[in-house]
Point group: C2
Chain length 193, copies 2
Amino acid sequence: MSRRRRGEELEQAILRAAAEELRESGYAGMTMDGVAARAGTNKNAIYRRWPHRAALGIAAYRHLSDDAMPNPDTGTLRGDALEMLRLANETWSSPHGAVLRGLLAAAAEDPELLTLMRERSGADTMDRAWIGMLERAAARGEAPAAAVRHRVATVPMMLLRAEYAMRGVPSVPDEVLVEIVDEVFLPLVRGRG
Amino acid sequence: MSRRRRGEELEQAILRAAAEELRESGYAGMTMDGVAARAGTNKNAIYRRWPHRAALGIAAYRHLSDDAMPNPDTGTLRGDALEMLRLANETWSSPHGAVLRGLLAAAAEDPELLTLMRERSGADTMDRAWIGMLERAAARGEAPAAAVRHRVATVPMMLLRAEYAMRGVPSVPDEVLVEIVDEVFLPLVRGRG
DNA sequence: TGCATAAGGTACGCGTCGTACCCTATAAGG
DNA sequence: CCTTATAGGGTACGACGCGTACCTTATGCA
């Protein structure tokens, strides 16, 4: 008969099982019994490690993907911005993004979870990438130095996020991304000259 | 013994009860049994009218407040925009807004409900108010005519929405509203000249 | 080899949704 | 005025999922 797993090994098995459940059924469909069964263990082992379902969900999401932050350098501000938006749009409209949205929804009424989420969502890294993009544009003379501001740099991602909140699951059309760049981001950067 | 209510009268009683539960406990705390008990009826009467909890939640939210859309006219674009943002911020950070966020969260993975929400959330009315504001500014010569665009007009509200999504329950500080107007909205409008 | 620790197995309490069934008041129509 | 279809009232129940309790059993370590 098979060995009995413990410690790190068991923990990884649980996380893997939870991640699979997340991918297949989303956060709403991830049940503790399901994870336990899939991991070949029982709920005791889970609750000894995470206090509740949401905590496991967040940990498993983190386990699901180590998001490599892109840092496009197309040579123009417009190209860089579009590239960033398109990559984000792809990520968020994938099953992977659906899981993220489910978690965010679950955390909406639980501030504690929301902070947990934000810490691990890589939002800061994302913001830095946009600021870097603006700095390079400014160095090229493509943007006024006064435009290199956090509030300005984050506008496109904020708009994309809000667009997702309004629409349902499907991805945001590419025209919208182009509009965000051409009708908002670039005029805004220029308007600060 | 008291009359037995029917039709419209009973429906209103249920909606009133559901709205009270929403106000007191948020959407997550609104239970069907609770609403039935508070309305002095039973779940049959509810399920004969709404197919599930979420539908009742949305209907009750609508019943909770007939949102009079503000239409400030302070004489300057900056004043109008700030006023709109401040009103929206007040609304969303009130218990009333907490209910709305709870509903949105619940609807996040259910496209059908999301459209229901959007239809009744008055988002279109809100957009029109912002466009009207821009038009008046253009008429006063305070903004270029090219800035009167839907995508431009909706930017501040989108940013506020995204700000809410990032932070938890508490209201967005007034400085952020000022930043949205002074660092984004006004430069953007000017940048389109 | 003995023991503390942690995993396995299982059952349970609780809350909540949604459904079923049967009884009864009410309104509408002959 | 009486009958009958309709809809509300009462209640119980099945299903499901979370989180807990309790006991048994394997495993690593002293």
